[in-house]
């Protein structure tokens, strides 16, 4: 690098090149997805089931009733929030998977709003 300080041209050299410690981490995941195409869909399905089943079972244990449409909506929104950052790196998720996640989220919302009683939203 060439710089000018007080009219004197100086040649600047970096003292130490900071290595990129995270440079190849994403490639590990991308290569895994390339070898196992169903990895991301199964991962997203795991996220959905964990929220849906865990929340509904926990609610059943605490209150005695289970609001399945609500937990389906929450689980699908959580899955959508996990899948959206995956779109920023190529090779992780396909647009078909993202479209299915969005569709399931909308369908869960339909189930939620059509299952409310008179006193609820």
């Amino acid at each position: 690098m060439v710089g000018k300080l007080g009219g004197v041209i100086q040649i600047k050299m970096p003292l130490y090149n900071v290595p990129n410690m995270t440079g190849e981490i994403d490639s590990a995941l991308v290569e895994t997805v390339a070898e196992v195409p169903s990895f991301i869909p199964m991962f997203l399905f795991f996220i959905f089931c964990m929220v849906f089943l865990g929340g509904s079972i926990s609610q059943k244990r605490r209150t005695g009733i289970t609001d399945l449409p609500m937990w389906a909506t929450i689980g699908s929104i959580a899955t959508l929030l996990v899948s959206l950052p995956l779109t920023m790196t190529g090779g992780l998720i396909q647009i078909d998977i993202l479209a299915i996640v969005v569709t399931v989220t909308i369908f869960s919302g339909i189930w939620l709003f059509l299952s409310r009683s008179r006193r609820e939203v």
Binding site: L84, L98, I100, V102, T103, I110, V121
Partner: protein, 143 residues
């Protein structure tokens, strides 16, 4: 499920669908994502369709409100002379559900004929329900 709750539920379904799709598209635009949901023609068409339904619902509501305030009721009558006030419930709102159902039918089930009958029947049932609710409200005995 009463008429107001039925209409409110369908309206919220349309708004929820638009919110989810717009959020996903906006995320891709803001972060220059490689995978953009706007590239999916089915999702884009569904969003455009639902937006169109809600726009028509907005204009129908204004017309119905105007017709309601300008309507007259004959002495001793329990009902409105015109059923146009309730056309917003039976016209555009079930179309919102149809657009959302067709999106799910094609995306999740791949347009399989055996699943298509389920969504066809469900959409028809919601339409019939909307018409019955509108007729019941027009006759002066709403829920």
């Amino acid at each position: 499920m009463g008429l107001i709750q039925y209409s409110g539920s369908i309206l919220l379904v349309g708004l929820f669908a638009i919110a989810i799709i717009s959020f996903a598209i906006g995320f891709a635009d803001d972060n220059n994502a490689i995978i953009d949901l706007e590239d999916d023609s089915l999702i884009s068409n569904a969003k455009t369709g639902i937006q169109g339904n809600l726009t028509v619902y907005y204009s129908d509501t204004n017309e119905s409100s105007k017709a309601f305030t300008e309507s007259t009721i004959a002495a001793g009558s329990d009902t409105f002379e015109s059923g146009g006030v309730w056309k917003t419930m039976t016209g555009t709102l079930p179309d919102t559900m149809t657009n959302a159902f067709s999106l799910a039918y094609t995306r999740v089930f791949g347009g399989d004929v055996s699943f298509g009958i389920i969504f066809t029947v469900l959409a028809s049932f919601l339409t019939i329900l909307a018409v019955l609710y509108g007729w019941k409200a027009w006759r002066g005995n709403p829920d």
